[in-house]
């Protein structure tokens, strides 16, 4: 049963990644694309966690943590750039 559920949830996350990609290309303004990127990195963490459950290995945890940190920092840096035209003042 678990393998069936994991495949189903992976499909759901994949569909949401495709929807995010659509918003990334179609989004009318820059902040929309930024929001799509932000959602995309959270969804990719979900995908990595699901891969860890599927393979039964706790090794993927570190990759998920790294993506969480880098994703937040890149969102913050992009926001600062759009706000002020500069990242480190």
């Amino acid at each position: 049963m678990l393998s069936w559920t994991v495949s189903l949830v992976t499909a759901m996350v994949a569909i949401s990644l495709i929807l995010n990609l659509w918003r990334l290309f179609a989004g009318p303004d820059l902040p929309d694309r930024l929001l799509a990127l932000d959602t995309m990195y959270i969804n990719s963490i979900a995908l990595i966690i699901l891969l860890g459950i599927w393979l039964g290995s706790a090794l993927y945890f570190e990759a998920a943590l790294l993506i969480a940190m880098l994703g937040f920092i890149s969102t913050a840096a992009l926001c600062k750039y759009l706000l002020r035209g500069d990242i480190i003042e």
């Binding site: 559920t5 759901m12 990644l17 969804n43 699901l50 706790a58 937040f72 706000l83």
Partner: protein, 126 residues
């Protein structure tokens, strides 16, 4: 026992997956940026919470020793999600993104963009 464990883990996984999907559907469906901002920040944090709880339960039982390091990602996401939402809302105000017409209180936007207090006469007394 084993069936019960799989049932609990599956329920948490399904909750997580549904919330992540709802967040992304909201991102596509809603009409303006400020409304779109609500769907991913709220729905996705709870979705990740569900997935990480499922992973925590599964690895705790399978590997005969508690596995709680997923809590770290959950905690990190719960701390950073509102911060990045706030920064993106600030960016959208700065870039003069339009809100849809039926949004109430649009006269405050210009004051908010300049980081000034709202006009006391017009907004607070009515």
């Amino acid at each position: 026992m084993n069936f019960l464990l799989e049932l609990i883990v599956s329920i948490f996984l399904l909750i997580g997956g549904i919330f992540i999907l709802v967040g992304s559907i909201g991102l596509v469906r809603l009409p303006d940026f400020f409304m779109r901002l609500h769907a991913p920040t709220k729905a996705t944090t709870l979705g990740m919470g569900g997935l990480l709880i499922a992973s925590m339960i599964l690895f705790t039982v399978r590997e005969s020793g508690i596995s709680v390091h997923e809590l770290l990602i959950t905690l990190f996401l719960f701390i950073t999600a509102p911060v990045s939402a706030h920064m993106m809302a600030k960016t959208a105000l700065h870039q003069k993104n339009k809100m849809i017409e039926r949004t109430t209180g649009q006269e405050l936007i210009e004051r908010a963009r300049q980081q000034k207090a709202p006009d006391v006469k017009s907004s607070l007394n009515d």
